[in-house]
């Protein structure tokens, strides 16, 4: 039997070798795990990209977590791996030039030839006793480590080359219109189209055909954005044609509403409100003839009523200066109670109206088409009156306001009302706003984030009359479309692409369920 000291030395040597081997196994299998984890991470990135949209940080995090998990699993497996003492002894022999002395001693130390066993163990210890475990089991980089660059390169290539996910959150936020809703919209549009007066000019005929094409498009359940684009295009054309007729909005129908006091002008006003300008002209001419022939007796009150109605009409006819002048002249004659002058002025006014009847008619037609397109747009956006909660006659003018209770200025304090700038109501100075005359209201605001004050401006637009004409989801979708078109350009750095995606993600509208309701007026301004 070998000596106790020799046996203890052998055990001590083996214990050191075992510890070393366990450490090396842990490292080696950790590297294997890292390699497999890297490959699995690439696979995870690919799967995530295939399944749904994910940004770069999310993909990187997934890859890193996968690699870390498998590295840990590999390290644990390495630490738990069984260790062969004979292999350790042979490694020690190789390091200490033992020529299998220690390995043989390990196997023969319990041989029944005790003297020989003792001799062999002593000889082995003499040769390998001072050989460190680190020399027997040196730390070497596993061969598999050279492949570690492969998953890293693959991951980088995937992140660079795989198409980035679209900002589809924007598209998803646009409320979809069902087939039934499209059918209803198309039917209503067809009805309105049929009620339009006949085109008076080749341009109007062309415009009419465009509207008919739009009607056909609506029947095909189009994408809402496509339909909105068409409507916007047609609206622009209508507006352009209208401006060609008259630089300023010309609507004798609306102007005629201002005439309500004079009995003599009642027929004239009725014809104008009906858009029958030739007949209205004849009425004026007839009125002038009666005045000349003294067939019509006018008292002072009637003269005064005529003067006021004509004065009011003149004010409304700013778009047609010639008619305005004639109208003003007639008003002056009426105020002087001069029948002859009044008759002459009315005759000139009738001539003027007769000459421009076609122009007035075309202007009315254009306004009608514009209104029809606005109505269509409103229906598509499912807009309802903020006040009454449904489409009322006042809403149909496109501005979304009515005179029903609750829509009066001040009735909806804190939400806007007739004052400009949703959300800025309480701070608006309440001044009058004229067309193309926006106001910038500067104010000092106490900020929460940082110390000190900052200045902010609120832009209040009179045309929009206290609210946006577009839903936030639509506006967001437009911005996203523009951004997407530019994001794919090489000139945009990769890091900036990601930055933009983060930005759009941060201002995404709420989930579709919430978009069925009218736009949230408190939503942040999407303009970057």
């Amino acid at each position: 039997m070998i000596g106790t000291e020799s046996a203890a030395t052998v055990a001590h040597l083996l214990a050191g070798l075992r510890r070393r081997q366990r450490t090396l196994n842990t490292l080696r299998w950790g590297v294997h795990g890292l390699l497999i984890g890297g490959a699995a991470g690439c696979l995870a990135v690919l799967m995530m990209w295939l399944v749904g949209p994910a940004d770069v940080p999310q993909l990187l995090l997934a890859a890193a977590l996968t690699a870390a998990a498998l590295t840990l699993a590999g390290a644990i497996a390495g630490a738990l791996m069984p260790i062969n003492d004979l292999a350790l002894a042979r490694a020690l022999d190789a390091a200490g030039q033992g020529k299998d002395r220690f390995a043989s001693a390990l196997q023969l130390m319990n041989d029944h030839h005790k003297d020989r066993a003792s001799l062999i163990v002593e000889d082995a210890l003499l040769h390998v006793r001072h050989t460190p475990a680190a020399a027997a089991l040196p730390l070497r980089i596993p061969r598999s480590a050279r492949w570690l660059v492969a998953p890293v390169a693959l991951l980088a290539a995937m992140l660079l080359l795989l198409p980035q996910p679209k900002l589809q959150a924007a598209a998803a936020q646009v409320p979809e219109i069902s087939a039934e809703q499209w059918q209803q919209i198309a039917e209503e549009f067809d009805k309105e189209l049929a009620q339009l007066p006949k085109p008076l000019t080749p341009e109007e005929e062309e415009l009419q055909k465009e509207l008919e094409r739009l009607a056909e498009l609506l029947k095909e359940n189009p994408d809402k954005r496509d339909a909105l684009k068409e409507i916007a295009k047609l609206s622009e054309r209508v507006e352009r044609d209208r401006r060609e007729i008259s630089p300023r909005e010309l609507s004798l129908k609306k102007a005629a509403k201002a005439m309500s006091k004079s009995a003599a002008l009642k027929q004239f006003a009725a014809k104008m409100q009906q858009g029958e300008y030739q007949n209205a002209s004849e009425e004026l001419r007839s009125l002038a003839s009666k005045l000349n022939d003294s067939e019509l007796a006018l008292d002072a009150e009637e003269f005064e009523a005529m003067a006021q109605d004509l004065e009011q009409l003149a004010k409304e006819l700013e778009a047609d200066q010639e008619l305005e002048q004639e109208c003003q002249g007639a008003s002056n004659a009426a105020s002087r109670m001069n029948k002859k002058e009044l008759a002459e002025a009315l005759k000139r006014m009738a001539d003027q109206m007769k000459n421009n009847a076609g122009k007035y008619q075309r202007s009315d037609n254009m306004s009608r088409r514009k209104s029809m397109l606005d109505d269509l747009k409103r229906r598509m956006n499912q807009k309802k009156c903020e006040s009454c909660g449904e489409g009322c006659s006042e809403c149909e003018d496109g501005n979304g306001f009515c005179d029903k209770p609750g829509d009066k200025p001040g009735n909806r304090a804190g939400r806007g009302g007739l004052k400009a700038g949703w959300g800025s109501m309480a701070k608006w100075d309440g001044g009058d706003l004229s067309k193309n005359d926006e106001k910038r209201v500067g104010e000092m605001t106490d900020t929460m984030e940082t110390q000190g004050d900052s200045t902010s401006f609120q832009v209040v637009s009179p045309d929009e009359r206290a609210r946006s004409t577009k839903r936030y989801e639509e506006l967001f979708a437009e911005f996203v479309q523009l951004a997407e078109a530019d994001l794919d350009l090489d000139s945009v750095p990769v890091s900036q692409r990601e930055y933009l995606r983060k930005y759009f993600k941060s201002i995404r509208p709420k989930e579709p369920a919430a978009t069925d309701h009218p736009a949230d007026p408190a939503a942040p301004d999407p303009a970057p």
């Binding site: 292999a87 043989s104 062999i120």
Partner: protein, 336 residues
């Protein structure tokens, strides 16, 4: 009763081995490896087959060993008409002093400690088998009486590989009984110069016996006391099995060019010769490296090549080389 293995015994073995080698080196120029292999086989207690063209000094080597070891030495020149009785001896009629006659065994030349069987492949198989039986059994039976051969009994046979006409190649079963087959090849220029100087002058090297019979027996006993760990034995077994074409350890070369692999005697030879090398390296156990070193001379003559190997000139040494390169050591040291 031999003494137990000890450091002193190993030192004595190495010293005696060195003395014998030096003494042989006085007459034999070069051939260090051949002398080592011959002495290794001698200490392992096995017989040796020396193969080489005539004139390379095979017979001189054996004769020198005989002179240096103070053992009985006999040389038998094998010829086709050599009969077994010429080797083993025979019963002859003996007349005693009183005139009585009886048969008395007259020992042949094989009854010697050291026998040189020169050109053994020239004798008929019948005669060859008589020698080979004696080699294996260590005894000879003549006329129903078994005669024990002297101890130690050691045969060194030579054969000429180029003159095949009129020869009887040794059967595989018999050639297996040689522990070593040593290829004796022509020497280099420097060695030839040494041969010229030593053999063409008027001075001849005088040898003195450095080992006696008992010392050699003691050395052979020491060899047997060297131990072999299981993993080394397993390695030797894997190599031996690897020479069999249908073994799991066989290489592609083995499967293609070997008809029959080595017998268990091959493994025994590996271990015994490795033990000699271990002692010479001042070790008490053998290593896998020892096995690799002794494998070619111990196994080359036991591998029966296929016709394809002979046609393509694939030697047994080539097969063994590929085998030693491919067989894995048990619990081999791997890179961490």
């Amino acid at each position: 009763m031999h003494r137990e293995l000890s450091k002193e015994r190993v030192e004595l073995f190495r010293r005696n081995y060195g003395l014998l080698g030096e003494e042989i080196g006085k007459r034999i120029v070069g051939y260090r490896e051949v002398i080592n292999q011959v002495l290794t086989a001698m200490m392992a207690g096995g017989n040796v087959l020396l193969e080489g063209v005539p004139g390379l000094g095979k017979t001189l080597l054996v004769r020198t060993i005989g002179e240096a070891t103070q053992m009985d030495f006999q040389r038998i020149q094998f010829t086709p008409d050599l009969m077994p009785a010429d080797i083993t001896g025979t019963n002859i009629i003996h007349t005693d002093d009183k005139g009585g006659r009886s048969f008395r065994f007259q020992p042949g030349p094989i009854f010697s400690n050291l026998v040189l069987a020169d050109e053994i492949n020239r004798a008929t198989p019948k005669t060859q088998s008589a020698v080979l039986e004696a080699m294996q059994e260590g005894r000879v039976t003549v006329g129903g009486t078994t005669h024990k051969l002297p101890d130690p009994f050691w045969v060194l046979a030579t054969q000429n590989p180029i003159e095949m006409e009129g020869t009887y190649p040794l059967p595989e079963a018999q050639i297996d009984r040689f522990i070593y087959k040593i290829d004796v090849r022509p020497q280099g220029e420097d060695e030839l110069l040494g041969i010229i100087r030593r053999t063409t002058g008027d001075e001849h090297a005088q040898l003195k016996p450095v080992l006696n019979r008992e010392q050699i027996i003691d050395m052979q006993a020491t060899v047997r006391q060297v131990m072999a760990a299981e993993f080394v034995q397993r390695y030797a077994a894997r190599i031996a099995l690897g020479t069999h074409p249908h073994s799991e350890h066989a290489t592609d070369m083995t499967r293609r060019f070997v008809r029959f692999g080595v017998s268990p005697r091959g493994v025994q030879s590996l271990i015994l010769c490795a033990k000699v090398r271990a002692i010479l390296d001042d070790r008490y156990t053998i290593s896998c490296e020892d096995i690799r070193e002794v494998a070619p001379p111990a196994l080359r003559h036991r591998i029966i090549r296929s016709f394809e190997a002979e046609a393509e000139g694939i030697t047994s040494d080539a097969v063994l080389k590929s085998l030693l390169e491919s067989v894995k050591e048990p619990a081999a040291v791997r890179a961490a």
